[in-house]
Amino acid sequence: MTLALLLFLALQVSPELKQHVEAGLAAKRAGDLPGAVREFRRAAELAPDLAAAHVNLGAVYLEQKDYGAAIPEFRRGLQLQPDLPGAEGMLGIALLAQGYAGEAVQHLEKAGAEDALAVALLQSGRAREALDKLEAALQNRPDDPDLLFYLGQAHAQLAKQAFEMLAQHHPESARARQTRGEAHAAAGDREAAARDFAAALAARPDLRGVHLAMGELDLGSGDFEGAEREFRQEARLSPGDALAAYKLGLVLLNRGRTAEALPELQRADALRPGMPETLLELAKAKATAGDPAGAEKLFRQVIEQEKTTKLAQSAHFQLAQIYRKLGRAAEAAREMDLFQELRKR
């Protein structure tokens, strides 16, 4: 709008220029972007020193996502009139879209385009500064998928930088081996992961999180005995860790040792109340231990929290078994219907 006004101010001296600009604006309004390009390009030819003409043409290119064509027009406009409103921001966006994040930063800073600036900072390796801006932007738009995506990327970049520094400066430290173990585990290389975790523990036997990771490896290959050993160690090192208590309880339950599983799962629930995975296993343990009323209450809690997830599905199924056992046929049938309904999704 501002650009159009500026153009009109300039148009007082050239009726032909005025005609092309008006036609370009009309085409743009009508969504005829090629027509708008044609008219604005003619305007720029008629008035090559008119900054607004170039910027208007660049703006249409930008709309067409023809960033390569837009950039020189914005540059020319800014050369002719460095304070031309909007031009800096649009140039920054076009440069960012073309991957010139470093150059885009200065233009976006000048334009005060904070969201795009955050992305440009992130893509030019300045993750820390990007993080601050992204978090600020999320205050206004907390569910914006793009912002959430870039926030995740920023955190990942920072983490990567920290781990690279760790590997570079302390390659054989316990933490470096722990990190490598986790990377191997994520890549599915169980043996390499186990080697690194063992080395980490050899260097620092009290390192927290390593036994948990080793237990996960065992669990992933169905070795419940090994998993119990590791989770027990983790629970000893971190008695306040709900996850360690939950995992230990889970394994004990799977090993048929319900009486031992119950206190661990109860401890996990006390440490981190309401974690649905814990509630589900605790309910199962209670049902196995002959406390259907206690189990029912917990399954209901899971369903209340989870609604339609796999955990809720499982809770409906297990509730149906409890009701059936208690002879409450109608309730059992209802829960089984709900289970089937969720299964079909």
């Binding site: 599915g188 005995e225 799977n254 090993r255 048929g256 319900t258 499982s314 299964r343």
Partner: protein
Amino acid sequence: MGRFARVCLCAAMLCCAAQSPRLRQAHPPGLDFQHRNSPTPEKYLIETMGGGVALLDYNNDGLLDIFLVNGGKLPGDFSRRQPPYWNRLYRQNRDGTYTDVTAAAGLANAGDNYGMGVAAADFDNDGFTDLYITNYGRNTLYRNNGNGTFTDVTAQAGVAAGGWSASAGFFDYDNDGRLDLFVTRYLDWDVGRNILCGTPFHAYCRPEKFGGVTNLLFHNEGGGKFRDVTAESGIGKLVGKGLGVAFNDYDGDGFADVFVANDGMQQFLFHNQGNGTFAERALDAGVAFSDDGNAFAGMGVAFADYDNDGRPDIAVTNLALEKYALFHNEGGGQFRYASLSTGLAALTAHSSGWGVGLQDFDNDGWKDLFAAQSHVLDNVEKIQSGLRYLEAPALFRNNRGRFEHSELTGLPAVAGRGAAFGDLNNDGYIDTVVSVLGGPPLVLLNRGGPNHWLTLKLVGTRSNRDGIGAKVRAGNQWAYVTTSGSYLSASDARVHFGLGQAREATVEILWPSGTKQVLERVAADRIVTVKEPE
């Protein structure tokens, strides 16, 4: 209970607790079978699923013989006319050696079908065990002529089926004295519609990639003919992905029910309604899913009473990380998932099982659980490190209702598939033959122990001649006469009881005809033939 009785009980417990089944691999001379599955880079799914094994006494000499189902040549027409791809029958000789009698028995040239499994029973009540071979393609029914030869009677009998058949079994669902035939079928798949799955490593596709098919039920009409009653019986109402099948009367109504192990979907429990029809009740009975409500890859199945409460329970083998499923029969048509409480979950979470049996290997009076094992993917180590393709068979000793690992010393890791059970050397201890994908079978001979035993060979008169479907009680133990169960396999029809310290047992037989027969104080350590009262 008096003091003396308490002392005896303790002594018996000490004795039996000290026992451990002693299965050892044997290499009987003459048993030179080599299974040929013809693995290809195309990873045709049939390559990894076969083949079965049967233990039967085809010539009634009192010794169990071994029948093994071969695969076929891929790609192409399977070329089972060539000897390397034949199914094979090995006759057991008196000295424990075996003789390949395939050609002499008329079982050579298995046709143009890729072999899968085998069912064995005397369908025509002539006193000789017949064979039904399942295939990818047409199935084959061989009638035992009683003179050491068999005749292909598939066409006259009308049981060729088609598609991809897996396990099959003979049972008498209407108690008319003639054995009927149930055939599980796996997937709606054919070689031409094979797809490559998995990146970067090609792997056999999961069953979810293909549609299911119906199982088949054939009613024995007598005179060597069967009638396809799949639709009218209600069996055909459900589309599944059946691999294993086993029979038992789970609700004690006198009619044989059917459990079908389905791969990657809910299991089927067909309740026999006693009027020629079946109703699928797995979900209501609590045997459709695991305790979490998850479907699992059901492969083999055993349908027997593991805790001596008189009600048959169900064990289903499946894939690693799923835990073998054990469903305890609670009575009233209801089951409870018991894998966790019996310790079986933790023992089996890292394994993939196929053929399975609940048999008392140490004769302590409690049925142990045996499984032939191996993952379905021959490259699973590359895909999921920590899992294994080849596995040794597993034996889980039943310690009064709770299962414990039992070391099977020296057994190789193999691609186990079928498993058949029976007393090969008639020493009173159950032996096992495991069929191995792409390899020679494993023969596991039981070295025995000090416990007593009793084996019964039933001869039906009003009931079917094999006595299949009879319920037999010895002391507090119950057995169900069947040759079916496991995976693609058929076991000895004789009923075996471990008696622990007892030197005799009172035996009660409830024949499928409804006849009840009681044998008082039968001496232990014998094989007894029992004829149904006329």
